[in-house]
């Protein structure tokens, strides 16, 4: 934003300066040319006096002295018989016009202007054939003249104004941008789990202070809601686990061991469901307001976490892990739980020596984790990824954790048979 402000201001200020300085530069040059023309006119008057009263030789001496003295003007006297004094003798249509009409004229020529003044040496009845013409060519003022110095001063002035203006704009922009940046950094801290730190006093324009106030109020509201949610979850945990405890204690007192075991098994499933409900209710507390995780890094770490067990078992453990991938809106805990569920199933339901292969690939918008094994495969007809189903027959919620994590990210879980002979579970996680 600060850079955009600077670029915009630089463009606007440059245009204003150009609109002001360019005409000024042209004006300076025009004044300089007019000044030269005025001085040339004076010289013409002097030359006219000499031409009208002196012979060509005297005129030549005088003209040469003039031309030597002033490098910006070139005086030439063109006599009607074709003779001339001074540089570049020769006549053109303009000279003829001046001689024939007897009127002086000023013309623009390449590199400057020229003044043509006919000199009547026979009074008012002098014929054109008796009229020499004085031509004074005045060079346009260039960069080496005082105009160049003036233009340089104008350029320095313009650059100074531009730089000064940009400094002012930058300070102004910083006073806008820094409070907004602090505000943005503060809001980004919401992504991290844990307590939200209070926003320090924000200085800056009233609009930014107003925005900071609104954010602070929003944060307060969010904290209140989170606190209520935590209380609600604690209450939920209490309300669900207390009757389960009572059931546990009652089942423990059942005399018939078979009935006690059956009831205990049912209670295990109920307990797992309760734990899952509590865990799900704690999701926002666990994730923070805006979870973003380097899924590839977390998944790869967790896959490597299981490698020593495979090594201890003598189980081939083939991993192919992508080096990097996109940030996903999934918590680290959920990603780790996802890998744990998939690999726990493999280690629990295949022989120690059955190979396992884990492939982790990633593109800009998705991460794919495929776990395959050389075990017996999933039982026929089992809806392994259905909520509440499990090949483990223990908690009944094994793959549903992976399914929910994948679906929450916009992805999916698919199961099938691997070319290794056993089960294949593919998890797709997406960025949106």
């Amino acid at each position: 934003m600060r850079r955009s402000l600077l670029v915009t201001a630089a463009a606007a200020i440059s245009m204003v300066l150009l609109a002001m300085l360019v005409p000024m530069a042209i004006l300076v040059r025009s004044y300089a040319l007019e000044d030269r023309l005025a001085r040339a006119a004076l010289e013409v008057q002097a030359v006219e006096t000499v031409v009208s009263g002196q012979d060509m030789g005297a005129v030549a001496v005088y003209v040469d002295r003039l031309n030597d003295a002033d490098g910006h003007t070139q005086v030439t006297v063109l006599y009607p018989d074709g003779d001339g004094v001074g540089p570049q003798p020769g006549e053109d249509a303009r000279v003829l016009d001046a001689r024939n009409t007897g009127r002086a004229r000023v013309d623009d020529v390449a590199g400057g202007s020229q003044i043509l003044v006919p000199v009547s040496r026979g009074g008012s009845s002098a014929l054109p054939a008796q009229t020499p013409v004085i031509r004074v060519v005045v060079d346009e003022p260039g960069l080496t003249s005082a105009v160049g110095v003036a233009w340089g001063l104008l350029a320095v002035l313009g650059l100074t104004l531009l730089a000064g203006s940009l400094v002012v704009v930058d300070r102004l922009g910083r006073s806008f941008v820094q409070p907004i940046r602090r505000l943005a950094e503060h809001t980004q801290s919401f992504e991290r789990p844990g307590a939200v730190t209070p926003l320090a006093a924000v200085e800056g324009p009233p609009e930014v202070q107003e925005l900071a106030g609104a954010v602070a109020r929003l944060v307060g509201r969010i904290e209140l809601l989170l606190a209520r949610e935590r209380e609600s979850v604690a209450d939920l945990s209490h309300r669900l686990r207390t009757p389960v405890t009572a059931l546990r204690l009652r089942v423990e007192a059942v005399a018939d061991p078979d009935l006690r075991d059956r009831l205990g098994s049912d209670l295990d499933a109920l307990q797992a469901t309760v734990d899952e409900i509590v865990r799900e209710a704690r999701r926002s507390e666990r994730e923070g307001l805006d979870p973003r995780t380097d899924a590839v890094a977390v998944l790869a770490d967790r896959v490597r976490h299981w490698a020593p067990l495979a090594e201890d078992q003598g189980r081939p453990y083939d991993v192919d892990l992508a080096a990097r991938g996109p940030l996903l809106r999934v918590s680290r805990a959920d990603l780790e739980a996802l890998v744990d569920v998939l690999l726990d199933n493999v280690f629990s339901h295949t022989a120690d020596t059955d190979a396992v292969r884990i492939t982790l690939t990633a593109s800009d918008d998705r991460v794919d984790l495929v776990v395959e094994d050389a075990g017996p495969g999933l039982p026929a007809g089992l809806d392994a990824i259905g909520r509440g189903a499990s090949g483990a027959g223990s908690t009944g919620l094994g793959l549903s954790i992976a399914v929910r994590t994948a679906e929450d990210s916009g992805g999916e879980v698919t199961t099938g048979r691997s070319d290794m002979g056993g089960a294949r579970v593919a998890v797709t996680l997406r960025t949106a």
């Binding site: 686990r241 389960v244 405890t245 423990e252 295990d268 067990l309 201890d312 726990d344």
Partner: protein, 246 residues
């Protein structure tokens, strides 16, 4: 409140009677716990509120207090703080709250152990006996455990093997410390899930296995060539000093 006495003493805190005060507001759980612990040989007193429980703890001086955190009148943590101001009686927190802040807060406030609901009377009894054994020997936990060349500094949560420090994760440390407290004893994976992972129900043996594998790596051994950690197939795992070490 009620008070009931169980069977004859079978040995001070080995497998016998202790005077236990249960402070629990739930009318379904409280009598069941009273009955369950009574059947296990304890003398049990109970109170449904924090203040009555506190009064009873001061008046009757029980051997141990089982305290629920979610009480109707005063939060259990406050009851614990007030109790600690006047008594050193061992306290086991029995709560449905299983979040770390609640657990850490209770232990920091002076609780001796923490058991998460749901639990059975037998599990609570095991905790009661363990806490009372520690209290009877006049110690919380030894500061350092030594098994062969392995030294586990419980207070500093550091482990040294043959004089070299071993970097462990918190879970690996808890696992090793639990085994080091029972050298030579086969500890089942279920016990480890209950005591180290605090998962009395559910949990997977493989979770324990993978942490044991990491622990082996860090102790410089493998399952095929064990030194300290020996797996007893189908039973559990045992921590012993290698042959030749003391």
């Amino acid at each position: 409140m009620d008070k009931a006495s169980g069977g004859a003493p079978l040995g001070r805190y080995g497998r016998g009677v202790a005077e236990v005060l249960i402070i629990e507001d739930d009318d379904r759980i409280r009598p069941l716990l009273v009955r369950g612990l009574r059947e296990l040989g304890h003398t049990v007193t109970s109170a449904p509120t924090g203040m009555t429980g506190l009064q009873l703890a001061v008046d009757s001086s029980p051997d141990l207090v089982v305290l629920d955190l979610g009480l109707p009148d005063v939060d259990g943590t406050q009851v614990l703080s007030m109790l600690r101001a006047v008594s050193t009686v061992p306290v086991i927190i029995a709560s449905a709250r299983d979040d770390d802040p609640s657990l850490v807060g209770a232990l920091d406030s002076g609780a001796d152990d923490y058991v998460v609901k749901p639990f059975t009377s037998a599990q609570l009894d095991a905790r009661v006996r363990a806490v009372l054994r520690r209290a009877a020997t006049g110690r919380e936990r030894p500061a350092t455990l030594t098994v062969g060349g392995l030294t586990v500094d419980l207070a500093g949560r550091r482990v040294h093997l043959d004089g070299q420090e071993v970097e462990l994760t918190p879970r690996e440390f808890d696992l090793l410390a639990h085994l080091a407290e029972r050298p030579g004893e086969v500890v089942t994976k279920r016990d480890l899930l209950v005591e180290v992972w605090r998962q009395p129900w559910g949990g997977s043996d493989k979770t324990v296995d993978v942490h044991l594998s990491w622990l082996r790596r860090k102790l410089g051994e493998t399952a095929a060539t064990p030194r300290y950690l020996t797996t007893v197939r189908g039973v559990g795992v045992r921590l012993t000093a290698p042959d030749g070490d003391t």
